[in-house]
């Protein structure tokens, strides 16, 4: 299993860089028995998750599985009227017990977010320079000049060309990939130790996506940043995540190392997700063709893996 060795080497490397980041705790965030109910609809059911420090923790699952809701709840951004119970432990502080004002001092400062569509998450009529410095001046108490200097540094870090010119421009003057880099710069500006990236590359072309994935990996490795990566794309998950939790119907059904979850899934739902990848479908079809059968590899399968045929609840 030389492949497995490689993946393990890589995780130890990431863990090593986390140790130099100043936090001596190995868990950046710990979610305990998180339940979320809106109008009697049970959206999250007993979600418990330890997010290892300095690593990329992936949350996989389909739309409606609760992965985005989990991320939003960590930031206190759950929908109005939602009842939340449980505990979200962040360096000894239960985030769920904080009032709005206290939460605001964490949000965007210690914990930040990167959204799917940067054209929607950045304000179209405010210059990048303002959007990139406003929260730094508030949270870090920087002067205008200091904030500007840090903004230029940040834009260099996320590899946006011409950082000084960038500050004067508006979002519509950039491509989607450049804007997502800027949005990442906004997220890491106040030196958070945790960012939640919700489908950060879904709106981007594949070649641009590769660049963003490299950037996130680089930030994680060099600054000890912890990332919660939310995506339904298992290719992206496999490229970036160190550990993966698979969600379905508001619950975590499987959790493990990237290699184990993708190569050796235990839960029938995870298996169904992996089996529905184009590559797996091709392999099955080719095997079926070789076996001299007709190549209707897909007949008899259920439409949605949310109803796996093999039934049976694990865990």
């Amino acid at each position: 299993m030389s492949e497995k060795d490689m993946s393990e080497n890589e995780s130890t490397r990431t863990a090593g860089s986390a140790a130099t980041s100043g936090t001596d705790e190995s868990v950046a965030l710990s979610i305990r028995d998180l339940n979320l109910t809106i109008d009697d609809h049970h959206i999250l059911k007993d979600v418990s998750l330890d997010v290892p420090s300095g690593k990329v923790m992936g949350l996989a699952g389909e739309s409606g599985s609760g992965k985005t809701m989990t991320g939003m709840t960590v930031l206190g951004l759950q929908p109005e009227g939602a009842e939340v119970t449980g505990e979200i432990d962040y360096h000894g502080e239960n985030l769920l017990a904080l009032n709005d004002r206290q939460m605001a001092s964490y949000r965007g400062h210690h914990i930040a977010m990167v959204f799917q569509d940067p054209t929607a998450s950045l304000h179209p009529m405010i210059r990048i320079g303002v959007q990139l410095t406003d929260h730094m001046r508030h949270h870090l108490g920087l002067s205008k000049q200091e904030a500007r200097e840090r903004a230029i540094e940040l834009l260099k870090l996320v590899q946006v060309p011409d950082p000084e010119g960038t500050l004067k421009r508006y979002p519509h003057q950039f491509s989607g990939g450049q804007l997502q880099r800027i949005a990442i710069a906004v997220a890491i500006a106040c030196k958070p130790d945790l960012i939640i990236a919700d489908e950060p590359t879904t709106a981007l072309d594949v070649t641009v996506q590769a660049g963003i994935l490299q950037l996130l990996r680089h930030l994680c490795d060099t600054t000890g940043l912890t990332i919660i990566l939310i995506t339904h794309d298992l290719g992206v998950m496999s490229a970036l995540a160190d550990e993966i939790a698979v969600m379905r119907g508001g619950q975590i059904v499987e959790r493990g190392s990237r290699y184990d979850v993708i190569r050796n899934p235990q839960h029938p739902y995870t298996k169904a997700l992996i089996d529905s990848l184009p590559k797996q479908m091709m392999e099955r079809r080719d095997q079926a063709a070789q076996a001299g059968q007709t190549a209707q590899a897909e007949s008899g399968e259920t439409e949605q893996p949310s109803e796996p045929q093999e039934g049976g609840q694990h865990d």
């Binding site: 594949v206 997700l273 990848l277 479908m281």
Partner: protein
């Protein structure tokens, strides 16, 4: 990749009859300030009867504009599009000529392309009325896309995204499609459904004798279903050929870059280097 399709149809499909020939097609958009954006720049390709052709490229490369021009939704600036020997004319306020109604489109967003206030039976009937020959029954069409017959009286909101896309496919087939164009038909579906719906589109086309022009930025899915691939970049065709040949031996640097950028779900943590 030849499949021996068992003929499970309860009706006899018309003989394959799609010859699409795009010759030096150029489409340009006028932009504010008098500038002209040439979205498609002198491209040529063919789609033969019973063929599944994948059209891939990144956003802004002109793949959707190409599809819209084939449907007559864009007026070409130059070149021509021939369908079964007749030149496709841009759509006007008049009814579309009968011979071009067998070009049918399946759009990206089934939430927007189905009428929320009419039952799916009614909407499939709309397609059947456009059919020049004998249209299969609504029940037969629902069988084809694996939707229970009993669901015919229901409304679009009662279906999931994947099922709605199946209904949109049934409607296109009802019209007697000789050429089905899917413009990112799987992009707004859940990952686990994408490959399945794409495979369904291929199977449906093979069974009914239609050709399929499948537009997608998802190269892995295109590899799964296409016989031939056309790669576009900024309005030009950079490469075209049989799918496996392009995958194994891409000649152009752009195609190589595009293929190298696909992250593979192998659990190894390799980030594509582009």
């Amino acid at each position: 990749m030849t499949e021996t399709m068992e003929n499970s149809l309860s009706w006899v499909p018309r003989p394959m009859r799609c010859e699409l020939e795009v010759n030096n097609l150029t489409v340009a958009y006028r932009q504010p300030g008098g500038r002209v954006n040439t979205a498609v720049d002198s491209i040529s390709f063919k789609v033969s009867a019973g063929e599944v052709v994948g059209l891939v490229g990144e956003s802004g490369c002109g793949k959707s504009t190409t599809a819209r021009a084939i449907c007559g939704l864009e007026r070409p600036k130059g070149g021509s599009i021939m369908f079964n020997g007749k030149k496709i004319t841009p759509l006007t306020l008049r009814r579309r000529p009968k011979e071009f109604q067998s070009i049918q489109m399946v759009f990206q967003n089934p939430y927007a392309s189905l009428n929320p206030r009419r039952t799916i039976r009614h909407q499939i009937e709309d397609g059947r009325r456009a059919n020049r020959g004998e249209a299969p029954s609504v029940e037969e069409l629902l069988d084809l896309v694996e939707i229970p017959r009993s669901a015919a009286g229901e409304y679009p909101y009662q279906f999931s995204g994947g099922q709605r896309q199946r209904i949109a496919i049934a409607r296109a087939v009802a019209a007697g499609a000789d050429l089905l164009i899917g413009d990112e038909p799987i992009a707004s579906l859940d990952a686990s459904l994408q490959a399945k719906i794409a495979q369904l589109m291929r199977d449906v086309c093979l069974k009914t004798g239609a050709s399929l022009l499948f537009i997608s930025h998802d190269l892995a899915v295109v590899r799964l279903i296409a016989d031939r691939v056309i790669v576009m970049q900024s309005g030009h065709i950079v490469e075209q050929g049989p799918t496996e040949e392009i995958w194994q031996h891409p000649k152009e640097a752009y195609t190589q870059r595009l293929l190298a950028a696909i992250p593979e779900a192998d659990g190894l943590g390799h980030i594509p280097q582009v």
